[in-house]
Amino acid sequence: MSEKPTISKAELAELFRGFIDPAFVIDDAETMKPYECDGMSMYCEMPLLVVLPETVSQVQDVMRTCARHKVPVVARGAGTGLSAGAMPHAEGIVLSLAKFNRILSIDPLARSARLQPGVRNLAISEAADRFGLYYGPDPSSQIACTIGGNVAENSGGVHCLKYGLTVHNLLSVELVTVDGELVTIGSDGLDCCGMDLMALMTGSEGLLGIVTEVQVKLLPKPEIAQVVMAGFDNVQQAGDAVGGIIAHGIIPGGLEMMDGHAIVAADDFAKAGYPRDAKALLLCEVDGTEEEVHEHIEQAEALFRKLGATSVRTSQSEEERALLWKGRKSAFPAVGRISPDYYCMDGTIPRSQLAHVLTEMEKMSEEFGLRVANVFHAGDGNLHPLILFDANVPGEFERTEAFGSKILELCVAVGGCITGEHGVGVEKIRQMAIQFNDDELAQFRDVKAAFDPDGILNPGKGVPTLRFCQEYRSLEHKQHDIHSNADSTHG
């Protein structure tokens, strides 16, 4: 943000009430309270105002007003984000897209759907079901999260290895720019002329524009799906089995792993019948035609056994398949039951590094005195370490953050990245300086300026300022020096 807003809260509210239903211009602390954070509740901030426009032209007017008065705008879908991307700005407004919850049309022959941005992810597949179609990306939060939020975060899910992330399943996006212009990027066709602005918008965390309509691709529902569950005595073997399946030429619909802590927590919660003594569990779903699934399931079972699985079980019915997945899909709340709080990380690593990274994490866990449970999208190397802590113990969240930061540094060091699907937001903004150098970050800032020269859209998120990076790096340096001094004294 280059400049301060040039208008008071009361004046701004007055302006908005001129074109938005006054009931949807919220300025009292109590009603604004639920908007103070997203799914990452450790980061909170109260906004100046919350507005809930009902038409695209109101959104345009909101943007024009805010641009004129240099008021920060934070777009908000369902607020399930896990990087504090939707956390308000103290001097800005929250622009909620909650009223935009209509499915505008479904074209079964073209296999596409037009949606307002506030449509819930799961509602798309529910509506497409009667045409034998569904929407591919399925974040675990799909009951609540919105397609607008999915576009902003480039969300993934269990089925992404085979069916892709949000970026692979979009046709077009309608956007309100920072100065209130309405523009469509993408089209009904698969490719467009010129630079791929669709890709740039996807995952841009509300920093480049406000998404007011989304056209997604729909996929034919597979004839059948079955899941093979395999337990292993150690994570190395489970990791190798993941590689083994893929090397064999099978691309599973979903391929998920849990470590020992997560297995027990999830089984306690979902009573899924997981092998509780296993140190690692794989859930490998194969979907497709009857013939294909039959062929691949047999191969997968044999392969897991050959690669050292101590138990192998294949779902024989839809109920059993749902049960086996229930444990995985409820892993976060399950872990929430064994600890007052948990902190979910989101690094991605090359799969070959899995065993190494898990072993290192075990060591860090001891160092920091904090437990960690692991669930992850093993097929695409996306880790979700859950660090267990108690926010009521002074200093414990700070320790948790420090632990998390070390995990992300490790992910980058082994050739991975700091976030696979949850986004940078506020939460990982420091670690951006680990993954990118100053020139790269400067390039990101130039991209941002091409869309939003005054830095009004979601300021303070996604890309750190130059000063922030320098301070962070010098701090790291000092800590490093302290550490190495300490090491040498112990040495």
């Binding site: 022959l109 296999r111 179609l133 993934g156 290895l161 892709g164 692979h168 720019t177 523009v183 089209s187 009904d188 066709g189 698969l190 490719d191 002329c193 010129g194 630079m195 791929d196 740039l200 996807t202 995952g203 841009s204 034919p220 529902k221 590689g243 893929i246 090397a247 691309i251 497709g288 035609t289 013939e291 294909e292 062929e295 991605t348 090359p350 799969r351 070959s352 999208h377 695409d380 190397g381 996306n382 050739g415 991975g416 990245c417 976030t419 696979g420 940078v424 993954q435 990118f436 020139d439 790269e440 390039q443 990101f444 130039d446 991209v447 941002k448 300026a449 091409a450 996604g462 890309v463």
Partner: protein, 354 residues
Amino acid sequence: MADLSKQIQDQVLSARNAGTKLNIVAGGSKSFMGRAADPDASELNVADHSGIIDYHPVELVLTVRAGTTLKEIEATLAEQGQSLHFEPPRFGDQSTIGGTLACNLSGPARPWAGSVRDQVLGVKLINGKGEHLKFGGQVMKNVAGYDVSRLQAGAMGTLGVMTEISLKVMPQPAASLTLVREMAADQVIEYMNARAAEPKPLSAACWLDGRVYLRLSGAKSAVEATARQWEGEVLEEAEDFWQQLRDQQHGFFNRSEPLWRFSVGATAKQPPLDGAWLIDWAGAQRWYSGDAEKPRLQQWAREAGGQVSLFRGGNRDGEVMHHQPEVLAGLQKRLKSAFDPDGIFNPGRLYSWL
């Protein structure tokens, strides 16, 4: 087969200092595309910046220098039973992966397997300030920072010189089979889309010369079972047919009239335009060879929910890409300045105004 990134960087810096422009060229197999290269710009040849840097079949990830030929990449992948699923067209042995991404070119499998842009995981790029930058990475999922890697798809080198590209690769399907039957153009759009809406292993759908071709790929049992359920004769020498389509070697692509490419809604009705048509991607990509004027073609593309571009032949000094509305043109100009403030790279190649 060498790392020439330092030399390329030096060339960019000296162009910047001298205030000159650069035309980026690798294999040169796609020089017919886009607008004509600026005659005042000097050539920046990056073909020798080639070679496979990293390939882990089990990770399904390949990292190569941008000047690596598709031929070399595909031979390396084939040894491990893998391939580039987006089936990029090879306009010659010298076609490179960098050019393929810059032009965003994908083949018959595109609606099912995704495009080259879909498979990109990361790029290294030298921008107009001569900075060598790395975006994305070598892992399947990465949402840190803006997706600058995929932004390059279709930018035709206007944002920088790509030096390294990481891609997702996939196992080759175990079996493949093609069904062919006669069908009129006015029926085929609905037919292909109805097939595509079934949960079957369809991997290509094309219409040409009054016949519709459906390719099935995947597990042998699934491919065979579907072939029994669907109508059509099994095509002999099917691989040759798809290869000729993919590499644009079929006679259709040799006509003397200009060749236009439509990327439109898959279910849009065929327009009443005189000329020859080839319908690919189950209707989402249509090739037109004929003498109709651009405004008329653009009008239909718009009605069909998509865009048109002059792919080969015709006037390459005018705009060859679909008209860009003012807001989008403004965004692209500002992005261009963000990457290449002095306008060094490929001036006028994509649009006259860029």
